[in-house]
Homo-oligomer: 385 residues x 2
């Protein structure tokens, strides 16, 4: 969906009948819908009864969500006659680990859930990635329902079937592609999300503009206040993001090509997350906000993009309160060589050469497969100043 | 491949040019070949160079194989210019566990193997199932080469893409479907396999006859001596088995239907393996030998098959030295109710009803989805006498 600044139309991203916005993800016999709307958590039971008849629900959630939205989910499931049990993990990235994975696998199997039953992820990207991996491997694949509750999960991690956990060597290095059967994004759930995490998710929203939709980015520059406030602008931003991701995923499910564009800012970003120990020092969306600014700056340095565009990106992220510089990361960071080493451990390495998503300007990202490591260290050494 | 006793032709199962027998597995863009022949381990390097150009090899093997056939594999890889490193696990079913899985995953990632590199399984079904699961999840899927060295692995576990590990709740309950890119079955490797494990693998060979190829079963009744002795009869039996499995897998990759026929004897068998703690008291092939006899006896009891056919099955397995009765299992077993409980935990349970593979006679197995649990306990109580 490439639009120009003049033609981006937020209203077109909404459902006309006041019901949930439906974004189909076209993947042949693995196709599914993303439903976006206000107050949908309580309707998941009815939706499952209709779309996954007979499936019981092995809910996976984190302790934050368990205190906020689990009751509504369980009430709706019960009303629909769907048996469920809930497995609660600790909030935070540390739950995307082997020990927690093993514990959830055991709990799902111990709950006697079968292939036709569904793992139901209620939470942010951490819960979604972890439980999607569980759904992908228990009995070699169970059904899977995502109820993303963070903005990041609603616009990014719940769509597309990438699941996984982290290991000592790096982030998301272990997992499977396992598409959900249904994604239900309740925009009302975002009202309990912290400002910080809303902002972090916003970085992924802006990413879709930066990749190939300059019009959407321009609309965000003008309307970010309304998006943060909630209401129709927020719903429009979420639906536009989901459509953009759905289109890319449908074209390249297994990331053999175009899908890599979604990693804009992520090679730098993952290195920063590794450097800060995947801790609260820097959450994913903050890391990739810096990463996207760096990707634009690096593109300028490689004479690929204009300084003006890179400055617009930095300015917009600053305006909404996202970090944009290495210096914005609290605490010490490794030097340029140390960061390069972390980048090399990132999974977007093809046969020893560095792959980056670079850009010719806002809305003009592309895959660069052969970036010389020395150019990266030189650039990072300057950026660290 | 259904043949009658009169038409089964062992010679037709062999390659005519003296080269390896090639059995194609037709799975669209996941198609691959099984190569069967004498002394192939040393040629895996050349085969990989030709068929998986550029892939490095993360060898996974067990301590027994490491002492017997790893050198030949490594020499061939080196001669072909393929970098490799070997990860050695303990022999035996206990290696199909979360801790070993995690260790191998870490070793593969730590060895900086990438998506385009291959996990190379050198060993029996344990090594194949474990390392196939690793290949399926590291970086969300690496390439995978199987070098099955046990008879069971050559005729069964290396073909079809089922991978996985065991958990406390049961066998193979965690894993993925991950097809290999190449399977190389070196029949010479079987010369170092123990009699006991050769016999256990033979149970799976006979299974293909019992499922839908009465002619093959009759040929085995007449030629088992030659199959055990090695040479062309052994190769013919292996190739016939691989063709049978390849056909079923091609028709039903994800076991939504016909593929379940391959579980003949396995529901009872898995319960016996669970009851004996997956220990050396009873290896997989022995467990399913008993399981297949029980499946025939149970079918007789349900008035589905003739006593004559069931007796032929028991007699043949006895002749080759396989166990055929619950009483043949060394040590104590749970009673009928205890066994039923273990059966219920087996994964071939659909929405609470018991699914068994039953038979109308030799070569006439079918899927029975609605077996009353009480019929099973009654039958087992008698069988235990
Ligand atoms: N699979 C993919 O394609 C993909 C894409 C992008 C990111 N990710 C992954 O997503 C993860 C980050 O996701 P995230 O930012 O959602 O992190 P998260 O799941 O840790 O959620 C952030 C915090 O917000 C809380 N929270 C979530 N929803 C809430 C709500 N409605 N109300 C109150 N609190 C709420 C959580 O408990 C947590 O403390 C990372 O692990 C990243 O790797 C995956
Ligand atoms: N994936 C599938 O479709 C599938 C199908 C059937 C069985 N299986 C699994 O396969 C496993 C059983 O396989 P297995 O019987 O090969 O067990 P195994 O891998 O434990 O091998 C049996 C023993 O023989 C040794 N061995 C193997 N090859 C040898 C050789 N050439 N020379 C000397 N020693 C050798 C091994 O070290 C081991 O001690 C079970 O875990 C079962 O669940 C999987
Ligand atoms: Zn991201
Ligand atoms: Zn078997």
């Amino acid at each position: 969906m490439t639009t120009t600044a003049a033609t981006f139309d937020a209203a077109a991203a909404e459902a006309s009948d006041g019901g949930p916005v439906v974004v189909p993800v076209a993947l042949g016999d693995r196709s599914y819908d993303i439903l976006i709307g206000d107050g949908l958590i309580g309707r998941v039971g009815a939706l499952m009864a209709e779309r996954l008849p007979g499936a019981r629900a092995a809910i996976v959630t984190d302790a934050n969500l368990a205190g906020l939205h689990l009751d509504a989910l369980e009430a709706g499931l019960e009303a629909a006659g769907i048996a469920s049990s809930a497995i609660v993990v600790a909030p935070g990235e540390a739950s995307k680990s082997f020990p927690v994975f093993e514990r959830v696998v055991d709990a799902v199997i111990g709950g006697r859930f079968e292939r036709g039953d569904a793992v139901v992820a209620l939470g942010g990207g951490v819960v979604g990635d972890l439980s999607g991996f569980v759904a992908g491997v228990v009995r070699r694949g169970m059904r899977f329902v995502q109820i993303p509750t963070s903005l990041l999960a609603q616009v990014d991690s719940s769509v597309g079937g990438k699941t996984g956990i982290n290991v000592a060597h790096g982030k998301n290095l272990v997992g499977v592609f396992h598409q959900p059967d249904l994604v239900v994004a309740d925009t009302a759930a975002l009202d309990t999300l912290s400002e910080r995490h809303f902002r972090a998710g916003y970085a992924e929203v802006a990413k879709y503009g930066l990749i190939d939709d300059a019009g959407f980015f321009a609309w965000l520059e003008a309307n970010h206040g309304a998006v943060f406030a909630g209401g129709t602008a927020r719903t429009a931003a979420i639906a536009t993001s989901c459509r953009a991701k759905a289109r890319v995923v449908a074209a390249d499910e297994r990331e053999t090509g175009e899908r890599a564009l979604l990693n804009l800012g992520h090679t730098f970003g993952h290195a920063l997350e590794a450097a800060t120990g995947y801790s609260d020092r820097l959450v994913h969306g903050e890391a990739i906000a810096i990463g996207m600014v760096l990707a634009h700056d690096f593109s300028v340095r490689m004479n690929l993009a204009s300084r003006d565009d890179a400055d617009r990106v930095r300015a917009h992220f600053s305006t909404v309160g996202l970090p944009t510089r290495l210096a914005d990361v609290p605490g010490d960071l490794p030097d340029a060589d140390g960061l390069l080493k972390l980048i090399g451990q990132d999974k977007k390495v093809a046969r020893g050469k560095l792959t980056f998503i670079l850009t010719h300007g806002i809305g003009q990202a592309f895959i660069a497969n052969d970036v010389p490591p020395s150019a990266v260290t030189d650039f990072l050494a300057e950026a660290a100043v």
